[in-house]
């Protein structure tokens, strides 16, 4: 049997090929198989890591620096679980979402390739391999956005151009690091790298590229239309997972290479701007999916707020847990919003009145996941923000505390915009809505998971604490 770390990457890729050959809606069978394989592989991988510590797999048997190594520790596992969980839910959701063969035939191979690329980024220890993984993931993501057709074509184009630009900046840094140290393996670079000008330039270019691809203010304008106009399950994985791949790499680079430690406040300031800007725009968004997409811009900002506080372990934990909690909650929100869009034929906020009676399961899912986004106890979002607050207070960074508080208020306000309308009585004569049960319950399951992440936080955090380098 191939090792679990290999299966976690290759199963979705192999099944993407199968889905492409089967074509049409039949692609859902390889999709479900991939979901089972990924979840099982990540579970086995977790067992290995808990038992023996971080896993290193030398692809081709060559070993770094000549070959490419895969490396999985607690931090990688956290992101792998995010990808496995949200990916499996999105897969189940998609089996009921696409009616027609044409959209489904394009969706399944692209989504499974995206999933494989995502896993490849989470497990790689090689900076150039990460670039290829990011490209695989990025092109697949663009293909998914373009599936929306019409307005989504412009969004997909913008997304692709930004993605190419970000990748090139990243590769620029990789080139400089390789020229100086002759290796692409992150742990070897960490051992070799100093803090001279070349390293700073390389890191700055890589981080700029990665943050660009993560839609950080002021380089965020591409995200809301791309995420909002993509088809339902694609929106969920784009917002919950795809932006996390670049964020994960940024976090890894920052903790491994010391070159930019003094510039953390700059990244933190961008994060603060994102929290406030994303929140304000979510307050004004006219459509539900657009609101949820703006919320992503703000929530990603929280992760950046941790950068000036690194490398304290509370800050690492806070950043990682925020990425995890946001991913699960945001996927639930997007799935719920897409169910509304599907059932009601539109998602203008003004038309959401009475949603609580007309689509109760979906409305509950939206409320629960929204609570996690706001950071209400006992949700996963609460734990993440609590960890970030702790790290900020310990470091005496009061401005971070202030931004987290303001961001929470903004999030509460925009979630209430939706929940308040849902609870209001429906317009007279508004027709009852119907949605396939699988759509409604998948969103609810994710929403429950986002709350549960607060209750069982000790376990993933132990994984992170015990294993962080």
């Amino acid at each position: 049997m191939p090792e679990p770390v290999v299966v976690a990457v290759t199963a979705p890729l192999a099944l993407a090929l199968a889905a492409s050959l089967l074509g049409g809606r039949r692609g859902r069978w390889p999709g479900l198989l991939a979901a089972a394989a990924v979840v099982a592989a990540v579970a086995l991988l977790t067992r290995d890591v808990v038992a023996h510590g971080p896993v290193r797999h030398q692809v081709g048997g060559w070993g770094a620096p000549l070959g490419i190594d895969l490396f999985v520790d607690g931090l990688a596992l956290l992101f792998l679980w995010l990808s496995a969980g949200v990916g499996a839910a999105a897969t189940v959701y998609a089996t009921a979402y696409f009616h027609d063969d044409e959209a489904a035939g394009a969706f399944w191979p692209a989504w499974l390739t995206l999933w494989g690329g995502l896993q490849a980024v989470f497990v790689t220890a090689d900076l150039f391999n990460a670039y290829v993984g990011l490209e695989l993931l990025g092109l697949a993501a663009v293909a998914l956005v373009a599936l929306g057709g019409g307005r989504a074509i412009g969004a997909a184009t913008r997304y692709l151009l930004v993605s190419m630009l970000g990748s090139l900046l990243y590769l620029l840094g990789v080139a400089l690091l390789y020229a100086a140290h002759g290796t692409l393996d992150l742990s070897r670079l960490a051992a070799a790298a100093g803090e001279d000008g070349l390293e700073r330039a390389a890191l700055a270019a890589m981080l700029a590229g990665l943050l660009f691809k993560t839609a950080i203010v002021p380089l965020h304008a591409w995200l809301p239309p791309a995420h909002a106009d993509a088809p339902g399950p694609a929106s969920a994985v784009l917002s919950a997972l795809v932006v996390k791949a670049t964020l994960y790499l940024a976090l890894r680079l920052w903790t491994a290479l010391p070159g930019l430690a003094t510039a953390g406040w700059l990244v933190g300031a961008l994060g603060a701007a994102a929290v406030l800007w994303g929140g304000l725009h979510a307050l004004r968004a006219p459509r539900l999916k657009l609101l949820v997409a703006y919320s992503t811009v703000g929530q990603l900002g929280y992760v950046l707020l941790a950068f000036p506080l690194l490398p304290s372990s509370a800050a690492v934990a806070g950043a990682a847990y925020q990425a995890l909690a946001h991913g699960v909650a945001k996927a639930a929100l997007f799935l719920a919003a897409s169910t509304v869009l599907r059932a009601a034929g539109g998602d203008r906020l003004d038309d959401l009145r009475g949603l609580g009676h007309r689509l109760p399961v979906t409305a509950v899912a939206f409320g629960l996941a929204g609570a996690s986004i706001v950071g209400l106890p006992p949700s996963g979002g609460f734990v993440a923000k609590w960890l970030l607050l702790t790290a900020a207070v310990r470091a005496g960074a009061w401005w971070v505390v202030l931004v987290i508080a303001l961001g929470g208020l903004l999030a509460a306000a925009y979630v209430l915009r939706v929940v308040g309308r849902s609870l209001a009585p429906a317009h007279a004569g508004a027709p009852p809505l119907k949605a396939p049960r699988r759509l409604e319950w998948t969103a609810l399951a994710l929403a429950l998971a986002s709350v549960a992440l607060g209750l069982v936080a000790a376990w993933p955090l132990a994984l992170l604490e015990g294993l962080a380098p």
Partner: protein, 306 residues
């Protein structure tokens, strides 16, 4: 590598000047033609740097196919070559100048001694199954990158060909087809002579890749060039979507070979030295076919857009 000569100075300056000019050219057509010229000069720079494999890939893919795709697209987007006022011109110029300055400074601080992996590659070249270092890195030492890259290529086909709308059945409504003047007998005659030759060159490059510059990507690109030529001279190619079984072949086979090793208790993509050569030849042949099919289909596939 060799000494810096006046030729290199001229070549470098010409590259920068061409880049400047092609971005500033008011006419998009001129810009694209200059881009192809740029690619050819860049291939020359690759040769000067002792990287003939890259030179081949650049000439065939970078300059040739990308240029052909751009020209084709320009023809199909009539009346849209107007360039509006540049946005954020000065802030971005300052930022780009700063980036350039930092990069130049970083390059100048690089130590004179090489820090690369040539030694490591040479030391284990024999175990790799091929005798040409670049091919050994591409297919074996860093074969995992190449596997994912074949995935990227396959995905590009998937996005363009499979997800695209069906072609408009009325050719008179399709400006891209109408714009194509009949090209006459001379081109057809040349193409009929050239395509067999291109197939021969492609096969040679594929074979040579094991011990000399060349390999699957260059060979595939040359074959795809043959496909593009056929298309341009009016020979109908099968529609992009029909290429489905072929385009994924390289990706699927490489993945399968890698997983078979893992299933046999070795690491992913770990080839036994005794079998490495044969397996890599198999992978290369499949990859060449796929690369040629995808690149040609990316070109032919655009017909289904308008």
């Amino acid at each position: 590598m060799g000494e810096l000569e006046a030729l290199d100075l001229l070549l470098g300056l010409a590259l920068v000047a061409l880049a400047w000019r092609l971005l500033a050219a008011p006419d998009l057509f001129e810009g694209i033609v200059l881009f192809v010229t740029f690619g050819l000069l860049l291939s020359f720079a690759w040769v000067r740097l002792g990287a003939p494999d890259v030179a081949l890939a650049e000439a065939a893919i970078g300059a040739g196919l990308t240029g052909a795709l751009l020209l084709d697209a320009r023809g199909a987007m009539p009346g849209a070559s107007v360039e509006g006022p540049a946005r954020l011109r000065w802030p971005v110029a300052v930022l780009a100048a700063a980036t350039g300055g930092v990069l130049v400074a970083a390059v100048l601080t690089l130590p004179a001694a090489p820090a690369g992996l040539e030694g490591a590659v040479a030391a284990r070249l024999e175990e790799s199954g091929v005798a040409h270092p670049v091919t050994a890195v591409l297919l074996n030492f860093r074969g995992y990158d190449t596997l994912l890259e074949l995935g990227v290529l396959w995905l590009a086909w998937l996005a363009v060909a499979a997800a695209g709308p069906r072609p408009d059945p009325r050719p008179e409504l399709r400006p891209d087809l109408r714009a194509e003047a009949p090209t006459g007998p001379v081109l057809a005659a040349l193409v009929s002579q050239l395509v067999p030759l291109l197939i021969l060159v492609g096969a040679y490059l594929l074979w040579a890749g094991a011990h000399a510059p060349g390999g699957a990507f260059q060979a595939g690109a040359i074959l795809a060039g043959g496909g593009v030529l056929l298309r341009l001279s009016g020979v109908p190619l099968p529609e992009a979507a029909r290429a489905a079984p072929v385009v994924g072949l390289g990706f699927a086979l490489f993945l399968g070979v890698g997983l078979a090793q893992a299933a046999a208790g070795r690491r992913f993509l770990e080839l036994l030295p005794a079998q490495a050569h044969d397996l890599l030849v198999l992978v290369e042949v499949a990859a060449t076919v796929s690369i040629a099919a995808v690149l040609a289909a990316l070109f032919a596939g655009r017909r289904s857009v308008s």
